[in-house]
């Protein structure tokens, strides 16, 4: 059915206005990051565009180090989650053993424990392990993930049991089947979960704030806070340049994987 023209126009007007409102803060930050400090302070429209803010952000702050740290931490968490979740999901779908269902409910129950509520002992554990200011301390606590296990379990369940049976007759062990059949077949879901894991790790705030005390392992989010608190001179252009650097990787990932992420999250949430 085609829409009447009037209705169409109404929709476009509403869409455009909403989009402007939603995107305004991001757009503003983006523009400001290219503006001279003078323009920002006088509140005028940009008279010239410059890369100075970016230069300054990288020269006055160890922004590169922050970025590297964030990439390392996010990739490690993502990989850890993928490995642990897929192993656990495999056990819940393809293996039959006593206590499996109870264990599954325990896994589900972990979703009810907010990390914030157990952050104090967690901090003490990391400290006692000597993991403060280390990649291990920033990543290992997040490897086990009930949501990921759940999401992959849903996906693994759609793999026909006959595939496993055929491999049993061929004489293939469980671990090899997991590696050579289940993982490739579930590629799409793994990518979805990977993107989700990367996004959330990249954007993590509370834990890196607690688990880092110096710039060697500090992630870019905490780095941004450092920039904001240390930059008292109203160098908003520099701060915005930093913020833009922080959001670009996640925005790109989001734009590329929006459809898959949406499908994956809805499935994980509602099935």
């Amino acid at each position: 059915m085609t829409m009447p023209l009037g209705q169409k126009i109404t929709f476009y007007v509403l869409l455009i206005v909403s989009a402007l409102l939603i995107f305004a803060p991001t757009l503003m930050a983006f523009v400001m990051s290219f503006m001279s400090n003078k323009d920002i302070l006088t509140g005028s429209m940009p008279t010239s565009l410059t890369l100075d803010n970016y230069r300054q952000a990288f020269s006055t702050f160890p922004l590169m180090q922050y970025l590297i740290n964030s990439v390392v931490v996010s990739v490690l968490i993502m990989l850890g989650q993928l490995v642990l979740s897929s192993l656990a999901a495999y056990a819940f779908v393809f293996l039959e053993f006593k206590g499996r269902d109870i264990l599954f409910y325990i896994f589900i129950a972990t979703m009810m424990v907010p990390f914030e509520a157990s952050v104090i002992p967690n901090f003490h554990i990391i400290r006692d392990l000597g993991w403060i200011d280390s990649y291990a301390g920033l990543t290992v606590p997040f490897f086990a993930m009930a949501f990921g296990t759940f999401l992959l379990r849903q996906n693994f369940k759609t793999i026909p049991k006959e595939l496993r049976e055929a491999s049993l007759i061929a004489g293939m062990g469980d671990f090899k089947f997991y590696l050579t059949v289940v993982m490739p077949v579930a590629k799409t879901s793994l990518v979805t979960l990977g993107v989700y894991g990367f996004l959330t790790s990249w954007n993590m705030y509370l834990w890196p704030l607690l688990a880092t005390t110096n710039d060697n392992v500090r992630t870019v989010q905490i780095g941004l806070k450092q920039m904001q608190t240390q930059e008292q001179l109203n160098q908003w252009g520099v701060i915005m340049a930093g913020a833009v650097i922080v959001i670009i990787p996640t925005l790109l990932l989001l734009f590329l994987g929006q459809k898959k992420l949406q499908k994956g999250l809805t499935e994980g949430a509602l099935k």
Partner: protein
């Protein structure tokens, strides 16, 4: 069975052997299953179950600055929690905060999702823009809004000034600080909520609308009688997730207000953080963490109890 005939003997033997074999297989399967789960079990134990129990344990003690327990005080930490004006204010702010952001987030996101669900040319761009705030971290979003809320050069006060109104001390005025934090949070939440709601809308069977069109139903009639009811499970999921996220708010407080002014924005997680890592009162902080845990447990239980039943499987 003393008169067992010799002929049945080998059969009985075989059955015994089978039984032993079956037990062996069971044990093997159990070990295999546990091996696959072991990494997760270990990490959950170390970084989730043990800390959770430790939190409950700590909440009954006073501690020194390193977190070691010193004096057992029983429920004293909890009693103090409910008598101290600062803690009570923190609870009040937290609930107010939930009240501010949850309905607003859902209504705005639903509005956007309904708009973006229309089959219009170029609607993909709008979907991308609406979901964009999901890719913006707490730190970055807070920095954006820190500038927008800036009393002298922030955009918001400039707009107010342009309209002939007096500027607002968004982050410094006790009457406005929580509102400012809420606005930031709503903006941040929109991306995720929008994406989930859009997914929910897209999974509604198109033939429902087609048959309604044949019956000559109008736009708002369809919205009210088909879209919202069919979307109810998704809405319910979004509702609980938004509430749970609201309880867990931390980053925007840390950057925007540090809990101030006058503890107006000292939401529960920030309060835990300050109590534990600034004041080193791990006992009192743990008691608050336990309360937070119970609140979220209730919300999750609610989600499981009512969510499960209402879910319409595609």
């Amino acid at each position: 069975m003393s008169t067992m005939s010799p002929a049945t003997k080998p059969y009985e033997d075989m059955q015994l052997a089978f039984e032993a074999e079956r037990r062996k297989t069971k044990t093997r399967n159990f070990i295999k299953g546990i091996l696959f789960l072991l990494p997760s079990i270990i990490l959950f134990s170390v970084f989730l179950f043990y800390p959770m129990m430790k939190t409950v344990y700590l909440s009954f003690f006073l501690t020194d600055a390193s977190g070691a327990t010193t004096v057992f005080v029983g429920l004293q930490n909890y009693i103090q929690l409910f008598t101290s004006s600062i803690f009570l204010k923190s609870f009040k702010s937290t609930f107010l905060f939930v009240l501010y952001i949850v309905p607003a987030t859902i209504i705005i996101s639903l509005f956007l999702a309904v708009l973006a669900n229309e089959k219009l040319k170029g609607v993909g761009i709008f979907r991308t823009i609406f979901s964009s705030t999901m890719g913006i971290s707490v730190a970055a979003a807070s920095v954006f809004w820190l500038y927008l809320f800036n009393p002298t050069m922030g955009l918001l006060n400039e707009i107010l000034g342009f309209l002939g109104m007096e500027g607002i001390g968004w982050l410094t005025d006790p009457a406005w600080a929580l509102v400012a934090v809420s606005i930031t949070t709503i903006w941040m939440n929109i991306g995720f909520t929008f994406l989930i709601l859009l997914g929910g809308l897209q999974s509604i069977d198109q033939s429902l609308y087609e048959s309604a069109n044949i019956d000559g139903a109008g736009y708002f009639y369809k919205l009210r009688r088909i879209t919202v009811p069919m979307l109810s499970p998704t809405l319910f999921f979004v509702l609980t997730v938004t509430i749970i996220n609201a309880f867990q708010t931390f980053g925007q407080i840390d950057i925007l207000t540090q809990g101030g002014p006058q503890n107006e924005t000292n939401l529960i997680v920030y309060s835990i953080y300050r109590e534990a890592f600034v004041n080193y009162q791990f006992g009192a902080a743990s008691a608050q963490a336990v309360i937070l845990f119970i609140l979220i447990l209730l919300m999750t239980a609610l989600q499981f109890k009512f969510g499960e039943k209402k879910v319409h499987y595609q």
